[in-house]
Symmetry: C2
Subunit: 199 residues, 2 copies
């Protein structure tokens, strides 16, 4: 089942590079760290670094392109009886719980990303990929064409907005808030159509 030794090593190296990049940048700032530093920390040659990540920035963010497909696949796997919003909401809650599990990884990532606009852009690109894949799956589910119906693309984009907002508020709370709860709150507001003033 688990792939050969080769695969394991690759995964390990990838994680080592990401961990090194994240930690070093957290300590010294993005400009205080070179690719050579990261490679040295992970015990590979500088040239090998680029076999794993096309860019220093990508190593810091550290999210596979294959990660982009996970969201869409998870939504596809939801029971067909659910409405698109219900399906997306359920999946996002799962992901939020997953992210909150490791008390180090995502908090550190978010702090670092927040401190460097360039990295925020990179992270947005990853989200964008995920949203594009999700759009296709939602179009399947609703049986419409993605270019005729606005719903798939819009829901995919709004889902990203909810998640980004939740992550930002999580960060702002010093990671004391409950991430899934923040996601829930976001979906409540959205599905209520942004009530004027519930005052």
């Amino acid at each position: 089942m688990t792939a050969g030794l080769r695969e394991q090593k690759k995964d390990a190296t990838r994680r080592a590079l990401h961990a090194a990049a994240l930690q070093l940048v957290a300590d010294r700032g993005l400009d205080g760290v070179t690719v050579d530093d990261i490679a040295a920390q992970a015990d590979v040659s500088p040239r090998t670094f680029f076999n794993y990540f096309p860019t220093k920035d990508d190593a810091v963010v550290g999210l596979d392109p294959r990660h982009s497909g996970r969201l869409a696949e998870a939504v596809r796997a939801r029971p067909g009886a659910e409405t698109p919003v219900q399906a997306v909401r359920a999946v996002l809650l799962d992901q939020a719980r997953e992210m909150a599990r490791d008390p180090q990884l995502w908090p550190l990532r978010l702090q670092v990303v927040d401190a460097h606009p360039v990295l925020a852009a990179r992270l947005s690109a990853v989200f964008g990929d995920a949203e594009r894949a999700l759009t296709a799956v939602l179009a399947e589910r609703t049986g419409t064409r993605a270019d005729a119906d606005a719903l798939p693309g819009l829901l995919a984009a709004v889902q990203g907005a909810v998640m980004r907002t939740a992550l930002h508020r999580w960060l702002a709370s010093g990671f004391t808030a409950d991430l899934p709860a923040l996601v829930d709150e976001g979906f409540d507001l959205v599905t209520a159509g942004f009530p004027a003033t519930p005052a």
Copy 2:
């Protein structure tokens, strides 16, 4: 009113650089164009290029950082009687009309950006800045703290989602669709809370 000759020249140079970057990249692709090419096309030295844009990518996207504040300012200027959603919707419609006015600039921009994920990330960063500024203004309007109330941040993010989706659908239509109408459609869906299936 209009600033001195100096300001005019700066604006002209900036526009020339952006236009050159956009056109060259549209023709040859992002990797087929160097900063030297762009500078030459705009009749300035390569070194001067970096007095205007911190990055080649930024020159291609060509949006000021000061552009980021315009959205927020426009919302601040809306009558206080409007709900946040109404105010944001009105401003976004204005911007959509503005973007659709020049039949060349935004279409070319969007095509180029769509063809190069790196540029999409850059554009996302600009949107992100605008959203952050908007969050602050919305928090003012609702009289809440942006970190206690989810609405300002979420509405700012969702607004971005609506606009991005509209732009994407505009692009997909080959720019035959009506951009303001696409924005309207997006807001209708959002304020309806994503109705299950209006079938």
